[in-house]
Symmetry: C2
Subunit: 430 residues, 2 copies
């Protein structure tokens, strides 16, 4: 087995703690997937003695993250300090200068300095990865850079700020005004005390600048992004939009036209027919349209400790897998043949349609059979009465075991007034 990949984490806010927690709790899984250990070799943050809910006693500590970045005991530097310049940028530059690959979640830094940093990383022959900088846990950077690499992309757009989408969704659902919903979002932790970065569209614009560079092979150019936030959208506008067949969403849109590239972030009326209109609450979504693939949509959580850590670790896994990933994610010899569960053991709720001759006593017979097989009814639906004629009877059940359900339906099918094989469709809680 190759040596461990020694990861240095600079910055121990929520995301940094999440990355350490993920690397530790999934250590066995990651070792199987990468063929080597991903080890948290060192960390750095401003205050050493703060309680972060993780044990750092056995982990090397650096007061200065630039020293961590340059240290010989580190293979990859994870920058989670934040801010477009200052210490975050210094750490990334120090890492590249020391010939180390960098993983960052820093959209502001990448939106402003991304092209230059990419050039320096290439010159040093190291990687620069930023999956966590755009749309949190959604692997959209990978999808655009690799999954859709055969396509000329014409348009990429999405909901890139969960705070704005939460506010607009809540305004729509409750009819309340922006200020009131913002205050609630702040109380719930979905919005910062200083919300301008989110609600004025700047955060979405940083992410859009990165998507534009990636989608169109163009230098990242944050200054060219038109930005308008959601403060002026009133409850009345959301209501009128609904009457017109639209929802209001803060979209970030990048598009190639004959004149060049458009980059814009602003509230939009979007038809309720579109997938993006159905993205609710704090979720993010990105739509990428390619000339061969057509429209593809990616949805997931755009922020938070877990989703962001997931994206950071995906980048680390890429660096750890020297020879590309194995066909099934782990080497064939590491595939575990866990047991396959037979369908008879399936546990779930059921929708059943019976075609029954409408006569007294039939329901009692059916109910008795279901009871004997431990199937508990949730609802019985028979529209109207038509004595002596065949009518549909719709049953829905509470959660039960499939074997019992099948046995009950076998017996019900034998009842004389039941004239067709019962149809059973499973109710899937998603």
């Amino acid at each position: 087995m190759p040596d461990a990949l020694r990861v240095g984490v600079a910055g121990l806010g929520n995301v940094g703690v999440g990355v350490v927690r993920l690397l530790r709790s999934q250590s066995g899984l990651l070792e199987r997937r990468c063929g080597r250990i991903l080890a948290v070799a060192a960390v750095s943050a401003r205050k050493r003695d703060r309680d972060r809910g993780i044990d750092l006693s056995g982990t090397r500590w650096f007061d200065d993250p630039r020293e961590l970045a340059a240290d010989d005991g580190i293979d990859v530097v994870v920058e989670l300090i934040g801010g477009s310049d200052g210490m975050a940028l210094a750490v990334v530059e120090a890492a590249i200068a020391a010939n180390k690959s960098v993983v960052t979640a820093n959209k502001a830094m990448m939106a402003v300095h991304g092209t230059r940093l990419a050039r320096e990383a290439e010159r040093a022959g190291v990687g620069l990865a930023y999956e966590a900088a755009v749309a949190g846990g959604i692997p959209i950077v990978k999808a655009l850079r690799e999954g859709l690499a055969g396509n000329r992309l014409d348009r990429v757009y999405g909901i890139l700020n969960g705070t704005c989408n939460y506010i607009l969704t809540a305004m729509e659902e409750t009819g309340r005004e922006f200020d009131e919903v913002l205050a609630e979002a702040q109380a719930l932790g979905y919005a910062e005390a200083d919300p301008g970065f989110d609600v004025d569209g700047i955060d979405a614009a940083h992410k859009l600048a990165l998507l534009t560079g990636l989608a169109f092979g163009r230098p990242v150019e944050f200054d060219s992004v038109f930005v308008e936030g959601i403060r002026d959208v009133g409850a009345i506008d959301i209501e009128y939009a609904r009457e017109l067949g639209y929802r209001v969403k803060l979209l970030a849109i990048a598009r190639t036209t004959e004149a060049g590239v458009e980059q814009r972030v602003h509230p939009c009326l979007v038809s309720t027919d579109t997938p993006i209109a159905h993205v609710r609450g704090v979720f993010n979504a990105v739509v990428a349209e390619g000339d061969f693939v057509g429209r593809t949509v990616y949805e997931g959580r755009g922020a938070g400790e877990g989703p962001t850590a997931s994206a950071v670790v995906a980048d680390l896994v890429d660096f750890a897998r020297a020879n590309g990933p194995p066909a099934f994610g782990v080497p064939a010899a590491s595939l575990y043949a866990t047991p396959a569960v037979p369908m008879e053991n399936h546990v779930g709720a059921y929708y059943v349609r019976l075609m029954v001759i409408d006569r007294p006593g039939v329901m009692a017979d059916i109910a008795a059979i279901l009871r004997d097989e431990n199937v508990s009814l949730e609802s019985v639906l028979q529209r109207g009465r038509d004595p002596g004629e065949v009518v549909p009877v719709i049953l829905t059940t509470h959660v039960t075991v499939e074997a019992g359900m099948r046995e009950a339906l076998r017996k019900i099918a034998e009842l004389e007034p039941v004239v067709e094989t019962p149809l059973m469709i499973r109710v899937e809680p998603l």
Copy 2:
């Protein structure tokens, strides 16, 4: 620049032709993205003289695709012959034996022989890629294998057969029965003359077997998949489901439980609240739930020449990029600074809310200003009348230039009865 990646395409049905067409039409883009040329070095199919709409006169031809697979002039073999065994399998085995990486779109072969082929490819030190075998153009194999590699996945499910989803969507929209809609789908080319493979759930089960292996690090085990198709679902069931708050979808579901792994394909009632319920027509979608990332959703076209070729070429790009992909998809030196379009030049439709004192003549003044700026009104909405009071007036425009729209609103804001700054929201056609 490294040597060209010499691609051999075995099988020239729709997808094979699509792959050749894509590699040719995007040759410049692919060269920029990979740092080398992706060349169609040879092809093979059963009939040489058939007109396929592409020029193969300068391309090496093999009557026997096994010879193509073994030829020294080929670096990567693309298997697009189809079928779980027979020639397709022989070609893949010949390619691995000759130490060549393989790209395949063959779900049936991979579902039955995938684990063994992966083992043989690893032993030979070559790649085995099958992005096109699951959900067409959606880069879901990459998302699970790499993008979500930091997560323990608990459940992966989706709509994996576009024919079934088309039929169920059409039944829902028109109230017609399965047989009638199937006949229509066959006439439109969305269903095969022999539809069993699709409507009986076998195609979805092949894809599910691959997703299960990938998501759970488990040998691919097609025989363990429970399969039930959609033939028995009646229009009446879709209607009753709607009344109960559900849609009927053919889902393929893989889930880990304490007892082991469930793999099942069957019609499901799914709540209209869920993203999967909104996937319409021939589109596919996959939902992957991870312990850190939460729920992620991937949607796109699951079949067809373009989407499938897009997935095949994504795999080829992975093989061509020896040192991993550059940060922005192309090396920093290859980023083109195409012009950035200023927002004043944006062309689109607008929603405008004016707060206006309700008095005669206001609308005439507003309409005149809009006309002078070449803004054409689509609708004007004023709910009720309230002379002398402030009322909202909602305008929607036809497509126009933003500079004119802004100038019109600047002038409208100066009208005496207009009491607030007009609110403008762009209508985004998606």
